[in-house]
């Protein structure tokens, strides 16, 4: 009986995900233009190897380590060359869905579906022989219970985001939680309420974030901050508060069908999404992300977050800032037309962005079953909205090239709309409560790189959507991408403007 009921529930929850006609939406239509600035380089994969990359690490000797869904750690040389002719070597195999990989102190620190492990090569033959389990304290009973692991933080801890049992259950311990595993193998719960993570790592300020997927209690995909005691929004995992004291008391149950901004006032621990990625327009399953620390080798977006999307095979940018103690920020389209569903990315020592993933199992735009690709900056700077930050009376926009100050100082160059989602137990949410704020004044900086917008009618808790189709650079070029989306959880205090944008 037990077996049957288990099977049945597995089927029930697997089936609705398999709705065939799930739409992958329309392309941005910017790929042709994007290719002038960021070139896609295919990394050839030998026919005998199925490399389903789930995680990357750049090794101290310049090799690339690849953790795969099929459980290999591969070491690759030649993948960073301008014209890659890679050689792949198997360092370890037989592991389970490698969705977190780091190399520190002569060891790999690996997050697999079953555990966090420290993996070493003791006899020095180039292949791992010592597999030490640091933590496997979480329950693992269903294939969809994925585990995404960060690279070690400054104290050497690996943060693990644990997917729920399915979208609506937390059947075994800590499903839907974030745990922190110390180098000594101690496991410390951090936060509850996760639904289906697909990437975890620090934001540009070094604070740990994770990528959440659209689904129950999540109107759209978003980046959220992971902080001790936080509740990430999906209450089904409250039952595990009994197993630990580190998070304090169980939060108040949020009310389904309300708005996140309203529930924040009621549910003290509820962490709002920092950056919402509007569904389809900005991805459908945001995944692994990294901060550009290439010091300009990847173009004008230094210290910004680059994040892939599994379903739409696109790469996007994001920026975050802390306002009134709450994280928020914006996302921007970057590059579309990648060959497969993206799971992981990593910056190379040359300052290119390495990407990889697979398209199996879920609807994906990219046609290849698996692929490794690289985005190389061509050296030409695209005209883009570089960054949006909140101001006490509006927004500050930064551009990658000087704007045409005549056009840029006209308020009607900027079309703003806002919306939010229903915060509910059901799957996803339509965009609701739309408003149209008005730009009353646009002040262009002398160098033409910044525009300060005075805006009437901003709405706290809403995504603010920018449409700048009329904008031109000083050279008369239109923007490569005309849209950007700022999630406004908080509005800065008038006098705190200068200090609130932590850098």
């Amino acid at each position: 009986m037990f077996k049957w009921s288990f099977l049945l529930s597995a089927l029930l929850f697997a089936m609705p995900r398999q709705v065939w006609s799930q739409t992958l939406g329309e392309y941005w239509g910017t790929a042709e233009q994007e290719s002038k600035y960021y070139k896609i380089v295919d990394i050839p994969i030998p026919e005998t190897m199925a490399i389903e990359a789930g995680s990357f690490e750049v090794m101290p000797d310049g090799q690339l380590a690849i953790g795969t869904r099929r459980g290999d750690i591969l070491l690759a040389t030649g993948v960073f060359e301008e014209h890659p002719e890679p050689i792949f070597r198997r360092y370890a195999s037989g592991l389970d869905e490698l969705l977190g990989l780091a190399y520190r102190d002569d060891a790999f620190w690996v997050t697999q579906q079953t555990e966090v492990s420290r993996i070493r090569d003791l006899d020095g033959d180039g292949r791992a022989d010592d597999f030490q389990t640091l933590s496997d304290v979480w329950g693992f009973n269903h294939y969809h219970e994925f585990a995404f692991g960060s690279k070690p933080d400054s104290e050497g801890n690996i943060w693990v985001a644990l997917c729920l049992s399915e979208s609506y259950r937390s059947k075994v311990p800590f499903r839907g939680w974030c745990l922190k595993v110390t180098p000594e193998g101690e496991t410390l719960p951090v936060a509850s309420g996760i639904r289906s993570p697909c990437g975890i790592g620090p934001n540009e300020h070094g604070v740990m974030f994770y990528a959440e997927s659209q689904g129950p209690w999540n109107g759209s995909c978003s980046l959220k901050v992971l902080e001790q005691g936080g509740f990430m929004g999906h209450p089904v995992s409250f039952n595990w508060y009994d197993l630990t004291e580190l998070l304090g008391p169980k939060p108040v149950e949020p009310e389904s069908g309300s708005r996140l901004a309203l529930q924040r006032e009621k549910v003290e621990q509820l962490v709002p999404y920092a950056v919402v990625f509007p569904y389809i327009r900005m991805g459908r399953s945001i995944s692994g992300f990294r901060v550009d620390r290439t010091e300009g080798k990847f173009g004008p977006f230094e210290d910004q977050i680059f994040i892939g999307d599994f379903s739409l095979s696109v790469v996007m940018r994001a920026t975050t800032e802390k306002v009134n103690g709450v994280w928020q920020g914006a996302c921007y389209p970057f590059r579309e037309g990648l060959a497969t569903g993206l799971l992981a990315c990593e910056f190379t020592p040359q300052g290119d962005l390495f990407l990889g993933g697979t398209n199996r199992g879920w609807p994906v735009r990219g046609p290849k079953a698996y692929a490794l690709q690289r985005l190389d900056w061509t050296g030409v700077t695209p005209f883009e909205i570089k960054k949006i930050t909140a101001a006490s009376d509006g927004f500050d926009l930064e551009f990658t090239l000087p704007v045409d100050s005549k056009i840029a100082s006209q308020p009607d160059t900027y079309h703003l709309g806002t919306f939010t989602h229903v915060y509910q137990q059901g799957y996803g949410s339509p965009e609701v409560d739309q408003t149209n704020p008005r730009v009353s004044r646009a002040i262009v900086s002398k160098d033409g790189m910044h525009v300060h917008l005075e805006v009437e009618g901003r709405v706290k808790g809403h995504v603010h959507e920018f449409d700048l189709r009329g904008m031109r650079s000083r050279e008369g070029e239109p923007l490569l991408h005309i849209h950007a989306f700022y999630t406004l959880n908080e509005i800065p205090e008038p006098n705190a403007n200068a200090t609130s944008n932590s850098r």
Binding site: A50, S93, F131, N141, Y143, N359
Partner: protein, 924 residues
């Protein structure tokens, strides 16, 4: 002995009365039957769908020779033979090919004067040329000059092989094939296609359009205002641009530049660069050419021109690429000694070895649009290494041409710059800082470029006819072109016609035909010849056309010729013109009453229980077993529905070269039991199914490569879910041929088996929701729950991991066999397994455990067996009723304990002992 065996076999065969030809060849068996019986059986029992697939299959290769719609194939178009053919003729032709050879399809044995013997079907014999098609793969078209032919004889043997039927597996397959052939010849709905195989014998471009193409090629507009009056769109494509020269210094050998500037057409015959220096006296030409070269090189003095030696292997690969990817669609193919063959309408390449270095040509080939933004030389989608190979072939030279060190003389360069401007070079080669000359209006054609005289104008080495064509074109008012003419202009300008026919213009020429090759002969001519673009704007979705033209999307991996990239800005108007010109009002289709159900039926039709599309078409990048026909999951994104509907009913009417059989001949479905055989509804169902694109459900009959994970001389491991084991299973296949699963959740040996290790498809395909499947035999499952436990603390075996256990991982030995480690209540355990061969075939599993007690307080128990019945049959050997024998070697105490209705073999572990060894041998 042999005789007796065959006699026996015949007896056995007769006794069976079987229709399977296993001993006797199928052809012999069929020849013994009456033709009438075969006809009636084929009509009654033959399955035309299976026949259609056989028709296209590689082993038989029917479609290679019997292409539909083409009069130039080796064999006759069977759909056009309905008048002459009775059912019985079909069967006789299959069983006795040489008995009756259709006139015009005999094999000719041609002997040439260089000793070659060619077996051909003669297609045409003119006064000088004989055109024929070779009767063996790759069925090349051959054009032989009659004067080189020594002898021609007709062969009495048909080109259709005698034993072809023996490639079939059964009589049933024969009936299927015949049934399909009957369907095909009875399909009278088809209008015979008179256009032939799509070769360039159709009409020519109208003279005024041809004049404009030439006007563009020579870039007359660069100087003459009259012709400049184009807005970019008038001609369907942006005007020609001469190469950019800002990096010419590192791209082209300066010596070559000097020679070329002095006399372009003798340095590079066929170049469109005019003779500019004929405006000055002959003796002044050399110094001026040098000064201009100094100026050009001075613009790119950072990276001087250098040469490298050719590598033979790379040049060899380059030669293959050159003749395969489409270079020879425009340029002349080359003989094995590297000489350009005389093939009409070829763009000459001149002396590339003198002009380029290998590296500079590589850079050019990787991105030709960088230097020539006008797209007349398109990007052939070569990767870096291909471009290098090609450059080794084209520009490499075995004896390194030493280029003299060219040092820029700035005073010469300054003079060069003024020559460059005064001569009007920058009118074509727009160059930063050098303004073009003012436009010149054309007052007469009796002086100037088009006259025979020389003067202050460049000299064009073009024919008299070309000159008069230009004069005529220039004197006429340029009409306002419609989209059709603009398409023709654009396609002629970009030479699309070298590969694609459209509306009777263009297509692969006979001379170039041999260089259009395929990786899949099963697809017939369609597999190698680029598609006819007639009506393409109505066939493909505009978005898809853009994807192909601009983003380089391609769905025909079997076609060796590549669809090049011309640059988005060069194609904008062609794109919109195609859509405008070909647009036909789309039919409207009724709303589906039950989309889900319709889709399901479509999936059934596509699968092997329906029309078996999956037998030939690729599905989600997985090629079918038969051939790699266009991916089903991309159809809906590409095609317009009206075209799809028409194509399904009669593929050949829209694509004469296709091997796609008609499944609704005469509007009747071959599968009458699905949707009552209604063609409209069946096609609608397939379309609805295809609408899901890459998410379309897997049709039945898709063959997937099995995955087998096997031990080598080292052990193999996979940590995933196994049957009866939770998600924390660790499966290991040992070299000796035993396999185990260790359960890292409950810390126990969970199962073992013999033979091959495992098939991971269940966890490596789709979302990974399945299990790893043991591949070997004698799979034994052991009972659930931890093996090491505290008898005072009962546990529920189904509830995952009880408290207190800590899995610590494993270490691999030199054969990559793991030693597992875990702790429980202060007891540290290591657990190691290996396979031990005993004798030739027997293999047992040997297990070595150690228990180190650190701060254990209580005695613990290690459970080795738990079964309904455990019997001890010697001092340390036990057997279960499942046929498992274990041999226990330890100094510790053990006992057989009854637990409920089960018996357990337990080893007692005393807390005070620092280290305990236990060895167990499993035999089963």
């Amino acid at each position: 002995m042999e005789l007796r065996l065959s006699t026996l076999l015949i007896f056995w065969f007769c006794w069976l009365g079987s229709q399977e030809a296993s001993a006797q060849e199928l052809s012999e068996q069929l020849q013994q039957e009456s033709v009438e019986k075969l006809v009636s059986d084929a009509r009654a029992q033959g399955d035309a769908v299976q026949g259609a697939i056989l028709f296209a299959q590689k082993e038989l290769g029917c479609a290679n020779c019997h292409a539909r719609g083409s009069g130039e194939a080796v064999g006759p178009d069977l759909s056009q033979r309905s008048e002459e053919m009775a059912d019985r003729d079909l069967i006789e032709a299959l069983l006795y090919p040489s008995r009756k050879i259709l006139k015009g399809y005999e094999t000719s044995l041609v002997q040439t004067d260089d000793g070659e013997t060619v077996s051909l079907r003669v297609i045409r014999k003119g006064d000088e040329i004989l055109l024929g098609r070779e009767i063996t793969a790759p069925y090349r078209l051959r054009q032989l000059r009659l004067e080189t032919i020594e002898d021609i004889r007709l062969s009495p043997v048909s080109s259709m092989p005698d034993n072809l039927v023996d490639q079939l597996n059964s009589r049933q397959e024969f009936l299927d094939l015949v049934r399909y052939l009957i369907e095909m010849k009875e399909d009278r709905s088809r209008v015979p296609d008179p256009s032939g195989g799509g070769y360039a014998e159709g009409r020519n471009l109208q003279p005024h359009l041809a004049g404009l193409v030439l006007l563009d090629e020579l870039n007359c507009r660069a100087c003459h205002e009259r012709a400049v009056s184009h807005d970019g769109d008038v001609y369907g494509v942006p005007p020609r641009q001469a190469p950019r020269l800002d990096e010419v210094g590192s791209r082209v050998d300066p010596e070559y530049l000097i020679r070329f500037i002095m006399d372009p057409s003798s340095t590079e015959p066929g170049t469109s660069m005019p003779h500019m220096l004929n405006q000055i006296s002959p003796e002044a030409r050399r110094p001026v050419a040098e000064e201009i070269t100094h100026f050009l090189v001075s613009m790119d003095s950072q990276s001087p021109f250098t040469r490298e030696t050719r590598e033979v292997d790379r040049a060899k690969r380059g030669e293959a690429l050159f003749h395969e990817v489409g270079c020879v669609a425009c340029h002349a193919p080359r003989s094995s000694d590297g000489k350009e063959m005389e093939v009409s309408a070829s763009v000459s390449l001149g002396g590339l070895q003198e002009k380029y270095s290998i590296q500079s040509l590589t850079r050019f080939l990787e991105d030709p649009l960088q230097v020539r933004p006008d797209g007349r030389m398109p990007n052939m989608k070569l990767d870096h290494f291909e471009a290098e190979d090609l450059a080794h072939y084209l520009a490499g030279s075995l004896d390194l041409i030493t280029s003299t060190d060219f040092v820029v003389d700035m005073s010469k360069a300054a003079k060069g710059r003024s020559h460059f401007q005064e001569l009007g070079c920058s009118n074509c080669h727009s160059t930063v800082g050098v303004p073009p000359l003012d436009a010149v209006s054309i007052s007469s054609y009796s002086s100037g470029c088009l006259s025979q005289e020389s003067g202050r104008w460049p000299r064009y080495d073009i024919t008299r006819d070309e000159k008069s064509l230009l004069a005529e074109t220039l004197s006429e008012e340029t009409p306002k072109f419609d989209s059709r003419s603009k398409i023709e202009l654009a396609m002629a300008t970009l030479n699309c016609y070298a590969c694609h026919p459209r509306e009777g213009l263009g297509g692969v020429s006979l001379e170039r035909d041999p260089f259009f090759q395929t990786a899949d002969f099963n697809l017939g001519p369609q597999g190698r010849l680029p598609p006819d673009l007639t009506g393409v704007g109505d066939k493909l979705n505009a978005k898809w056309i853009r994807q192909v033209l601009v983003s380089g999307r391609s769905i025909r991996p079997y076609m060796k010729t590549r669809m090049p990239q011309y640059g988005a800005s060069n194609l904008e108007s062609l794109l919109s013109n195609l859509v405008e010109c070909d647009d036909r009002p789309a039919r409207s289709y009724p709303e589906l009453s039950d989309r889900r159900e319709t889709r399901k039926t479509g999936q059934q039709l596509v699968g092997n229980q329906g029309l078996n599309c999956i037998a030939c078409h690729t599905y989600q990048l997985n090629p079918s077993e038969t051939m790699s026909a266009v991916d089903l999951t991309e159809m809906h994104e590409r095609l317009q529905r009206d075209w799809f509907e028409a194509y399904m009913r009669d593929p050949q009417s829209l694509s004469p070269n296709t091997v796609m059989p008609s499944f609704w001949p005469g509007g009747r479905s071959i599968r009458s039991e699905i949707l009552e055989g209604n063609a409209d509804r069946q096609i609608e169902a397939i379309w609805t199914y295809l609408a899901d694109g890459r998410q379309a459900g897997t049709p039945r009959g898709l063959k997937r490569e099995p995955i087998e994970l096997l031990a080598t001389d080292e052990a193999v491991m996979l940590r995933r879910a196994y049957p009866g084991v939770g998600k924390r299973g660790i499966g290991i296949g040992y070299p000796a041929g035993v396999n185990i699963v260790f359960d890292a959740e409950q810390l126990r040996l969970a199962m073992f088996w013999k033979g091959k290790f495992a098939d991971p498809s269940g966890v490596w395909r789709s979302q990974g929701h399945g299990q790893v499947r043991p591949l070997g035999q004698k799979v034994l499952q052991l009972s659930k729950g931890p093996e090491l436990f505290d008898p005072q603390q009962p546990w529920n075996p189904e509830s995952g991991r009880p408290l207190g256990y800590r899995f610590q991982g494993y270490r691999l030995d030199e054969k990559r066999r793991p030693e597992f480690r875990y702790t429980y209540q202060g007891m540290r355990v290591t657990d190691f397994f290996k396979g031990v061969r005993s004798g030739e075939t027997e293999v047992t599993l040997k297990r070595s455990l150690t228990f180190e007690s650190q701060d254990a307080e209580k005695p613990l128990v290690f459970r080795l067996l738990r079964s309904r019945k455990v019997e001890q049959f010697s001092e340390n050997r036990f057997e279960t009723d499942e046929g498992l024998t274990i041999e226990l070697r330890t100094d510790e105490k053990w006992e057989l304990v009854e637990v409920g209705d089960q018996m357990e073999l337990q080893v007692q572990l005393v807390a005070s002992k620092p280290k305990v060894n236990v060895e167990v041998l499993y035999t089963w």
